[in-house]
């Protein structure tokens, strides 16, 4: 089945080529194909749905404006993510210069559908509560990371990109990516441990 899907769905390069020739359906397919991933990445980096929505929208607008100049040999995906990440980092920097009143995102999924947790014990209420708490602590810890580490960790562990793609997106060397991911994970681990010790969580 998967094989069939791969055969029937056109590649990014095909879609970009068609879009550059003026095929609106190709453009639509590109937006639809990546909107969730871009949105998720922006959200995980800025931890705010409204901002993530703005950033996602701006990302696509910028990308589509620049699409005629896009070189087909480049990877559309990494190019799109580079725009998104740069926009998000700029946004975060601007935000840090103008600290805003932040409220606890007690339930910040805004009702949007999301992939349910894995089936392992998902029916167990206790397990679900535990998992929700873990997610909450993890998100809080993620928010405390420096921007550069968070971006690398998000792209790797949440979006599942390889180091080369992350290096392309962040426009740094692979060694830097490796270092940032490692340090980001360690910092997260320390933050979680610190919080657990404060809460007395075993």
């Amino acid at each position: 089945m998967k094989r069939t899907d791969e055969q029937t769905s056109p590649s990014d390069a095909d879609l970009v080529l068609r879009a550059q020739r003026g095929d609106p359906s190709a453009l639509a397919e590109l937006v639809t194909r990546y909107q969730d991933r871009v949105y998720n990445t922006c959200y995980r980096m800025c931890h705010n749905h409204a901002d993530a929505l703005d950033l996602t929208q701006t990302t696509f607008v910028k990308a589509l404006e620049a699409l005629p100049r896009f070189e087909i040999r480049a990877k559309f995906f990494t190019w799109l993510f580079r725009i998104a990440v740069n926009l998000t980092l700029s946004h975060r920097r601007a935000q840090s210069r103008r600290p805003t009143l932040s409220l606890r995102n007690f339930d910040d999924d805004e009702g949007r559908p999301y992939d349910p947790p894995a089936a392992n014990g998902a029916d167990d209420p206790a397990r679900r509560v535990e998992q929700a708490e873990l997610h909450q602590r993890l998100e809080a810890a993620l928010e405390k990371l420096d921007e550069e580490f968070r971006a690398a960790v998000v792209l790797r562990d949440i979006e599942g990109l390889d180091y080369a793609a992350i290096a392309d997106i962040l426009e740094v060397r692979i060694g830097t990516v490796k270092s940032r991911i490692s340090r980001g994970r360690l910092m997260l681990r320390e933050l979680l441990e610190s919080e657990e010790s404060q809460l007395g969580v075993g």
Partner: protein, 551 residues
């Protein structure tokens, strides 16, 4: 040196976890893993963090993102007629892209929402849609049309042959009075005792606030919009009813477009507490159309529409989104982030300790803040906003909006020595802090000003009586030079009634919808509008029925 090695080992372990090490280094790491318990533990910890991150729920883009992208692209490119070649190309591509994207999105989301967004209904009648006009339009003019893909107004809707009778019957079932003002004499005299609700267009946002003024994320506040229309004459009354009728779909040509399941459900409320001749309705409207409905009402009864919004923002960014200017250089919404203490706050905003009752609305125990129209004109004597406790209508206002707390009243009284009374003296002004934190419009949320298209349903307003028209003209002149003299602690001003208003409102209700989703396990697809249309005052000199007014 040891720390450097440790850091390098940590990086290599992380890369090993990701399968990003060279074969040689992979073998070295595997050897270390066999030899060292510490290395194994470090790897386990890294793997746990990585796995937990991967297990975070994935957020999905909102339903309207392709449409938002299209709008944003439109805005960037600018008006179509002034687009450069390159921009025009992008715009052209985008106009098409969203049409295509809509097809894809429809597979996932409710089709009617996207369909309406893509092709909002446009009212093309040049006249007010009275049953008489409907009768005439049945022969020639068409009532409703949908914007076509080519941009021209399609006149595809022809009223049915029995349209006049149907329209009249339906309108009368809603309380349509008719165009002859002499018919008002038949109404109960109680109308005369009901003071005209002359509150101008204001927005009242009810926010859940903590004692220190910060927004409290709370559950259970159902987003609702309470609209009170107080027509000054029968024309405005009828026109407001027609808007409701259009929502219901009881006007020929509107059925299936504006009413029914596709646009909004309507139910008429008849309560014992309502004044004779007063009509109350509950309308379920998709959040992206609320602004159009409100603006349509406002067009028909300028400055006679009061809007109270009730929602529970759980994030300050939601409020900020509302504050974002809809167009370059224009900011119609202000929000006092400083949130001065109650003693510093404008007295017009009273903290409601008792449950707030909004007419036709949902009881709320949230703090309520009442604003007035920035012009605050009263008797043509000034532009200072007045206290809520105006003569005659004070009780009504309290009932409708908020009941000030005793503390607030006391605090207000203690300051009253410097305040104006009805003699026209100026109250101590509370200057709202300048909002220097506005983001550039481009960076903000999706909002489009569709400059080429009329709003729905752009029923051309029939001229009111000359006195009313003169008053409106005066107010428009005054508004040009108006400044706000009081600021809300956590309120929202809507200062314009232009098409930007629609976009502001749309954005507000989208945000409200977000809040609704936050507090509900189900996806709420509509916003509840409580529409109250007050009866018009009886005119002392009814206009002759034989002299129809010209638009």
């Amino acid at each position: 040196m040891a720390s450097v090695d440790k850091e390098k080992l940590g990086a290599d372990l992380s890369a090993y976890l990701d399968g990003e090490l060279s074969p040689e280094r992979t073998r070295e790491i595997e050897r270390l893993l066999k030899e060292s318990e510490d290395v194994r533990r470090a790897l386990t910890e890294l793997r746990g963090v990585s796995r937990d991150l991967g297990d975070l729920p994935r957020m999905h883009a909102p339903a309207g993102l392709p449409e938002s992208v299209r709008r944003a692209a439109d805005r960037r490119v600018g008006p179509r007629q002034r687009s450069p070649v390159g921009g025009a190309r992008v715009l052209k591509l985008f106009t098409r892209i969203v049409a295509s994207a809509a097809v894809i999105a429809v597979c996932t989301f409710a089709g009617w929402t996207l369909h309406d967004r893509l092709t909002p209904p446009t009212f093309v009648s040049r006249e007010i849609a009275t049953p008489e006009n409907i009768a005439a339009e049945g022969q020639g003019e068409k009532l409703f049309a949908r914007r076509s893909g080519t941009g021209k107004s399609a006149r595809s809707e022809v009223a049915a042959p029995d349209a006049p009778a149907v329209a009249m019957r339906n309108l009368q079932s809603l309380g349509y009075i008719g165009t002859d003002e002499t018919e008002l004499a038949d109404l109960t005299p109680a109308i005369d005792t009901l003071p005209p609700y002359s509150e101008p267009m204001v927005a009242v946002a009810e926010l859940d606030l903590e004692q220190d003024g910060t927004i409290r994320a709370s559950e259970g506040v159902t987003p609702a919009v309470n609209v009170v229309v107080s027509p000054r004459d029968v024309n405005e009354f009828n026109a407001a009813l027609q808007i409701v009728a259009a929502l219901q779909g009881s006007l020929p040509g509107a059925t299936g477009r504006l009413g029914g399941a596709r646009f909004g459900a309507l139910s008429e409320q008849k309560g014992a507490s309502t004044a004779p001749g007063q009509r109350e309705f509950i309308v379920q409207v998709p959040p992206n159309r609320v602004g159009e409905v409100l603006q349509s009402l406002e067009q028909q009864a300028p400055r006679q529409v009061q809007v109270a919004m009730q929602f529970s923002p759980s994030d300050i960014s939601q409020v900020r989104r509302m504050m974002a200017p809809p167009a370059v250089g224009q900011n119609h919404l202000t929000f006092d982030e400083a949130r001065p203490t109650p003693t510093e706050a404008a007295p017009a905003f009273a903290r409601a300790e008792t449950p707030t009752r909004v007419r036709g609305g949902v009881p709320s125990d949230t703090y309520a803040f009442k604003t007035k129209h920035p012009t605050g004109r009263r008797g043509g004597r000034g532009r200072v906003m007045r206290q809520p406790s105006q003569p005659k209508s004070a009780e009504q206002r309290e009932e409708v909006v908020a009941r000030p707390s005793r503390e607030a009243l006391d605090a207000e009284a203690s300051r009253s020595s410097g305040q104006a009374d009805d003699s026209g003296k100026v109250e101590p002004k509370y200057e709202p802090p300048r909002d220097t934190k506005k983001d550039s419009p481009d960076a903000r949320c999706p909002r489009v000003v569709d400059v080429a298209k009329p709003v729905f349903p752009a029923i051309k307003r029939r001229s009111a009586t000359p006195a009313i028209e003169d008053k409106l003209a005066d107010e428009r002149t005054a508004e040009d030079t108006d400044t706000m003299t009081e600021a809300p602690r956590a309120g929202i001003f809507l200062r314009e009634r232009t098409r930007e208003l629609r976009d502001c409102l749309d954005e507000i209700y989208k945000t409200m919808l977000d809040a609704a989703r936050r507090t509900s396990s189900e996806q709420q697809q509509s916003v509840t509008l409580h529409v109250t249309i007050l009866p018009p005052p009886r005119t002392t000199q009814p206009a002759p029925a034989s002299t129809p007014e010209k638009p």
